[in-house]
């Protein structure tokens, strides 16, 4: 032990120990104070944050309401779309860096991507792009970054077929990282049929999201969220984007529920009593399912309309009940398949469908029954006639001479009639559609009384249905010309044109159908109605909607009688313009119309389309049975050239089908 050095002097250190001890005490006290701050002062706040970390509100989806037709046939419901997602790190582990941040090897599993590609029948190109995308996402993954794109699922296929689903199921063991997620997709079993009436659903656009989820939405208190966004729209949600789907969105949508679940930092749910003890009340809010709606339209009738319209490119048909204003059919051509737009088959398919539909010159996305306003032509004449009768401006029984043309002043071109009618009174002028008589009628009656009657019948005003954007149409008056142009602008020619439904007069087929229903029922103008009841899931009505009166027009009975007789003779008289469609078994009254469309050549347009657009509109407006009217019908064959030849036969087929359906349904008990 002698190797050890002698003891050294420790006196130098003596004074320091006290200060060291104080220093140590001070730093430990600082930690203690901090713990006091965190645990005692902030304890409740941190406990709340801890609770928030582990308790998550999980959304419970709701089901959108079902649309049914008047006979209970399903027009729109939901089906399940199977979407395939992949987790990049599990599908292609070889894309990961070899070691995580602690230097441990990241699980070294085989790639399942080749099998995924095989089952989903990816093209080599598609597969290559996907694997590049995964490699990019995973290049910098270090095994712990939860926000890494490497851990985020990628949607690779939407709405895959059942065959592929069963194949995926069969090879599940070889398909690590593949997840098939069922999502509800709106389904329209009748495809194109009544697509404008039904509408479609689509993802909320940026503006709508900004409205329902303004900046800072997530941090708002619950009741404030409820106020801003009562229907609980979320990103990527779909909502009604037209027709009944949009107009009745708040009823159809339903409301999501939620359930509190205990979840760990990796997003895994924990169950069992230990986990459930951590949940605070209320633990669950049941979802409210969307309301089912019963529509007034009749699928079978609409199918007949579709068949009858096959020869024509473009047009609209409206069938309404004259005693209620309920719409039995609302048909616009060309139409679209709402399934393509509502997400069935995937987003790419919807995008492609929109592009195609908006590029179509025949405008399939336009609801021609209410969004398009057209000159009504001769179908307007009954309103001019009523105005003349009301104002006693013209003796209806006195005859006027029609030479096939009439000249007003020597400088202007003569106005033409369809042919030489000879001597015609009002009855003949309506049934044979003589323009010359109506020019004389217009001269005697003047513009404003005609406009007043037409407006009373709802023409030139929005009907109030507002399933789709409604065009108001136009019934010009002297005041309108003064406002639009100047006080001196007006001349008689405008009145003459208006009396025969030309010039500045435009109406929508829906307006015309409602107006003819009012003529049929003796002057009661209804608001058109498409939804008749809200129903429970079992089809029991919860709330039924009464028909809504829009206007009660005072028509003298003998005037009405005169008009009905004349309209009957349009079909039944040998000289009537629509005599060709006469059917002894069907008691139809109506009026043909062939309207000049006010065509302006557009040199940029295809010559064929230009030719098409230069043709006259073919109209037929009718009611049936003429002695006890039940329905009114308006057919517009856009640029169909001739009302009697093209529009009237369509109407006749629809009326025939209506009668047939009525008879068959009467013999069977109602479902």
């Amino acid at each position: 032990m002698s190797v050890l050095v002698p003891r050294s002097d420790v006196a130098e250190f003596r004074k320091r120990y006290k200060w060291m001890s104080l220093f140590v005490l001070a730093l430990f006290s600082a930690v203690a104070v901090r713990l006091f701050q965190l645990q005692i002062l902030g304890g409740d706040d941190y406990a709340a944050m801890a609770h928030e970390n582990i308790v998550r509100r999980v959304t419970i989806q709701t089901a959108r309401g079902i649309l049914r037709d008047s006979q209970g046939k399903i027009l729109a419901s939901s089906r399940t779309s199977y979407d395939v997602y992949i987790a990049p790190m599990k599908v292609l582990p070889s894309a990961l860096p070899q070691r995580n941040h602690r230097g441990n090897r990241i699980a070294d599993a085989p790639d399942s991507l080749p099998k995924v590609a095989e089952v989903l029948r990816m093209t080599p190109d598609e597969r290559e792009r996907l694997s590049i995308r995964i490699r990019e996402a995973c290049a910098s993954y270090d095994g712990r970054d939860k926000g890494s794109p490497c851990g985020r699922q990628i949607l690779i296929r939407e709405d895959v077929s059942r065959d592929i689903i069963s194949e995926l199921e069969q090879h599940r063991n070889e398909l690590a990282g593949v997840e098939v997620v069922p999502t509800p997709i709106r389904f329209y079993p009748y495809k194109h049929l009544a697509s404008h009436l039904l509408g479609y659903i689509s993802e909320l656009d940026v503006d709508a999201l900004a409205k329902y989820r303004p900046d800072g939405y997530e941090s708002l208190p619950t009741d404030e969220k409820e106020r801003v966004n009562p229907l609980g729209y979320d990103r990527r949600d779909r909502w009604g984007a037209g027709g009944v789907e949009r107009a009745w969105e708040s009823h159809l949508r339903g409301k999501r529920g939620w359930e509190k679940r205990v979840v760990d930092a990796w997003g895994k749910y924990r169950t069992g009593p230990a986990a459930e003890r951590l949940l605070d009340a209320p633990q669950k809010q049941e979802p409210l399912p969307g309301r089912n709606l019963r529509l007034s339209v009749d699928v079978e009738l609409t199918q007949t309309i579709e068949k009858s319209m096959i020869p024509y490119r473009s047009g609209a048909v409206v069938v309404t009940e004259t005693r209620t204003g309920r719409l039995l059919a609302l048909y616009s051509k060309p139409n679209f398949d709402p399934n393509d737009l509502s997400g069935g088959g995937g987003r790419a398919k919807a995008r492609e469908a929109f592009t195609r539909l908006y590029a179509d010159p025949y405008r399939p996305m336009l609801d021609k029954t209410m969004s398009g306003a057209y000159p009504p032509g001769s179908t307007f004449k009954p309103f001019s006639a009523l105005a003349a009768l009301d104002s006693h401006s013209l003796n209806p029984d006195a005859t006027q001479r029609c030479d096939g043309f009439i000249r007003y002043g020597s400088k202007t071109k003569p106005l033409r009639c369809t042919h030489v009618h000879g001597s015609v009174n009002m009855h003949a002028a309506i049934s044979q559609s003589c323009n010359i008589f109506f020019f004389k009628l217009a001269e005697a009656t003047t513009l404003d009384p005609i406009a007043k009657v037409a407006s009373a019948f709802g023409l030139g005003q929005r009907s109030g249905l507002s399933l789709n954007p409604e065009a108001s149409g136009r019934i010009p008056s002297r005041a309108w010309y003064t406002l639009r142009h100047s006080a001196n602008y007006f001349h008689k020619g405008f009145t003459l044109n208006a009396a025969i439904g030309q010039g500045d007069v435009t109406v929508t087929p829906l307006q015309l159908a409602m107006a003819y229903a009012a003529i049929a029922n003796g002057g009661t103008l209804y608001e058109p109605q498409a939804v008749v009841a809200i129903e429970t899931a079992d089809g029991v009505p919860m709330q039924e909607f009464e028909s809504r009166l829009k206007n009660k027009i005072a028509i003298q009975p003998d005037h009405l009688q005169r008009l009905h007789n004349a309209l009957r003779d349009v079909i039944n008289s040998d000289e009537g313009t629509a005599n060709a469609i006469h059917d002894r078994t069907l008691d139809v009254a109506g009026k043909t119309g062939t309207a000049q469309p006010g065509f302006h050549p557009n040199p940029n347009e295809d010559a064929k389309i230009q030719w098409f657009r230069s043709r006259n509109h073919a109209w037929f407006a009718a009611f049936y049975p003429s002695h006890a009217p039940e329905i009114s019908i308006v057919v517009l064959v856009e640029h169909g050239e001739s009302g009697p030849q093209h529009a009237a036969p369509v109407a006749m087929q629809v009326i025939r089908e209506y009668q047939r359906l009525k008879a068959t349904r009467a013999s069977k008990p109602k479902p």
Binding site: M1, V3, L27
Partner: protein, 378 residues
């Protein structure tokens, strides 16, 4: 008198029970806490508490050996061990395996160890040896401090280059702690302060690597990027705070049980403990650490020679700075600097290092009394 008698009697009469009981209490609470901390982890992490027991038993045996050899033997080999430590640090650059962007580990077959951990002990020995021979009546000037500074700066620089700023910082603080025992001229203290005032900001602007700067920024703005760089400090604070006064109970702390705490066995065992046992438990634990550190100062004060005193201060400061930095970082008082909590964190090399430090304290403590005359009498 036989060596055996001396050993036994020395054990009987001079065994430092305070030191032993505090250290054992910490180790036991640590194992229990590791059990809670890793109960939800997947294998092999969920058996870390068992490994910790093996390390404690193995390390305890080794520590008993370290404690039983008179510390003045260590003084003799002080510089040699220090040199050995420097060589291993250099070897890290050659043989080291990169983990999380820095090379800290050397693998001998399946067993990996971190030379930087053991270098802390070697530095304490070397500095204690230097202090032992450098007794002065007058206060030291700047010139006198060059030699010990170089002794500390060499390993600190090598470790900082790994890069492992946390360990380098601990080395620096151990050095300052031993330095604080010495008599230094007041003017020199001022000069040192001035140098530090220039050196520290300069280093922070130019010497730190990207991720180190990010940690500082994250610490200054603790609510930013909670999903990323601030995940650990944020959830650590939540866990501690959620423990409130009495805690959730053993294995009941939700933030750990639901896997919001990461590194809960290495750098973040304290939040697990604080959430399970609340402020009461945390304060008790803090008191034990305080007692251990104050006791080591007491051991230093009763040491018979300069080497023993410096050894005790060095070992005590090692434990102290580890504890303060770990507790500071988990409570958000300090930025994240990967420093373990002595006897509480799982870790072979760091655990063994702390046990050796305690063994050295025990060594000094057992040889402070009059027994020394017996021991060295011939």
């Amino acid at each position: 008198m036989s060596a055996r008698d001396t050993l036994l009697s020395r054990f009987r009469d001079n065994f430092d029970w305070v030191l032993f009981v505090t250290a054992s209490a910490l180790a036991m609470i640590g194992v229990i806490n590791l059990y809670s901390a890793t109960s939800v982890a997947r294998a092999p992490l969920n058996e870390v508490y068992l490994q910790q027991i093996y390390w404690l038993v193995g390390g305890g045996l080794f520590s008993a050996f370290v404690a039983s050899v008179d510390y003045r033997h260590y003084e003799r080999y002080g510089y040699f061990l220090y040199g050995f430590g420097i060589v291993t640090l250099v070897l890290v650059f050659i043989l080291g395996r990169e983990v999380n962007g820095s090379s800290r580990w050397i693998y001998l077959g399946p067993i990996g160890f971190q030379p930087s951990e053991f270098v802390k002990i070697f530095l304490v020995l070397a500095l204690a040896k230097y202090v032992n021979t450098d007794a002065r009546a007058e206060g030291r000037t700047l010139k006198d401090l060059i030699a010990p500074t170089l002794i500390a700066a060499l390993p600190a620089a090598l470790i900082a280059l790994q890069p492992d700023l946390g360990t380098a910082l601990i080395l620096g603080l151990i050095f300052l702690s031993i330095l604080s025992m010495l008599r230094i001229q007041r003017r020199t203290v001022g000069q040192l302060g001035f140098l530090a005032a220039i050196a520290i900001p300069t280093f922070m602007s130019f010497g730190m690597l990207g991720f180190q700067q990010k940690r500082i920024e994250a610490w200054l703005d603790p609510d930013k990027d909670i999903a990323g760089i601030n995940w650990d400090p944020h959830h650590s604070r939540i866990a501690i705070g959620a423990g409130k006064t009495w805690g959730a109970g053993f294995m009941q702390g939700t933030q750990n049980q639901f896997r919001f705490l990461h590194e809960q066995h290495s750098d973040f065992p304290f939040p697990v403990f604080a959430e399970d046992w609340g402020f009461a438990g945390a304060l008790l634990l803090l008191a034990i650490y305080l007692l251990l550190v104050l006791w080591s100062i007491h051991i230093a004060s009763s040491a018979k020679d300069r080497f023993g005193a410096a050894l005790a201060i060095g070992s005590g400061s090692l434990i102290f700075w580890h504890a303060i930095f770990n507790l500071g970082m988990v409570t958000g008082l300090l930025p994240i600097v990967g420093v373990t909590l002595p006897l509480f964190s799982y870790g072979g090399s760091s655990g063994l290092t702390v046990m050796i430090a305690i063994a050295l304290l025990m060594n000094v403590s057992m040889r402070r009394s009059s027994l020394s005359t017996i021991t060295f009498a011939r």
